[in-house]
Amino acid sequence: MQKIKCMKELALFATLDFTEREKIGVLAGKKVYRKNEMIFRDGDPAHTIYLIKYGRVRLFKVSEGGKEITLDILKEDDIFGENTFFEENARHTMNAQAMEDTFICSCNKEHFAILLQNPKTALKIIQLLGGKLNNYTEKVASIAFQDVKGRISAVLLRLAGEYGKPSPEGTIIDIDLTHQDIASLVNASRVMVTNVLGDLKQEGAITTRGHQFILLNREKLAGAIAAV
C-alpha cells in the first residue's frame, strides 16, 4: 500500500482509477535521496524514469572548462530521466542531484511503457513534456535576449509562479536560494547577481528574509525583463 500511496499522490496518475494505480504501485520503486546526493551522473546507463514525490532536483552538465551548468530545477510531480526513453542501451547525458532531502518514485523503461498504454497517462506525459519544452524555450530566449538584470527578474518571477506563497508583504518564494543558485540559473557570476539583487532591493522590487526572496513589486520586475 505504501507504493500505491506514493504513486497515487502524483498528479501524473491522478486520473487513473484504483485498479490502475494498484498496477502502478506494483511497478514503482521508491527512494529518499539526501541533500546533495547524486541520483545519476552523465554517462550512467539510463533505464529508469524518475518522478519526484517531494523535494527538489537539479539537472546540470559540466562544461569543457569544468564549470557546472544548471539546466533545470525540478520539483514535486516533475518527471526526469525521460530524455533517453526511446533509445536502446541509452546513457544519461546530464547529472541529477538532490538539492534537499528528496523522495523519488521510479520505474524502469519497460514498466513505464506499460503505464503509457493508458491513454490518460500518456496524455498527461505529453502535457508534462509540452510544459518542459515551453520552459526550455523560454530559458533559451531569456539568455539570448536579456541582460543579467532581465534574466534575474525573469527567474524570480518564474520561481514565484512555481513556489510562491502570498503574504502581507508580497509573494514569498518558498525555497532557499543562494546568490550562487541564481547565478547558475541565469548564467552569470555570483558577484553580478549580488549587485543586481542589491539594485532590485533598492528599487523596491524585492526584499529578502534569510535565503528566501519576497517579491514586493512584480511590475518593476516585469519592466526589467521588457527593457532589452
Binding site: F85, Q117, A122, I126, Y136
Partner: protein, 119 residues
Amino acid sequence: MPAPSQPCNGAGGMNQNKLHCPKHSRDKEEVDAQIKKMVSRVNLMRDLLFEIKAGTPLGKTVKMLLNLFLCEGEDGTSDLTSISYHKLANLIGISHTELQESLEHLQQQGIILYKPISK
C-alpha cells in the same frame, strides 16, 4: 489458452477466446510517436540551453542568430544575405570553421535552413 500466433479477434481460429489487444492500436502508435517527438524536442532545447550557457561556438552562434533575427525588416523577414561567413564569425567571436560546423548542426537539427550564396 489460445496460441500467441492466433489473430486477435479469433477470426479463422477455432478457439472462441480473444487475445488481449490494445484498443485503437493505431491511436496508441500515434500517441507513442507524439511522445517520442516531444522528448526529442525537449532534448534539443535543453542541449541548446547548455551550449548557450557554456559559451560554446554553437551556443554563441545560436545566441547571435536569435538576436539578428530579432531585428525584423519591414516585411517581417531579416535579410542576412549581405553577411559573409567571415563577417558573421567575427561578429560572433568564433572561427570560420566553428561557424560552419555550428550552422550545419543547426540545419541538421531542423532549426535553421541556410545556403551559401556565391557572388
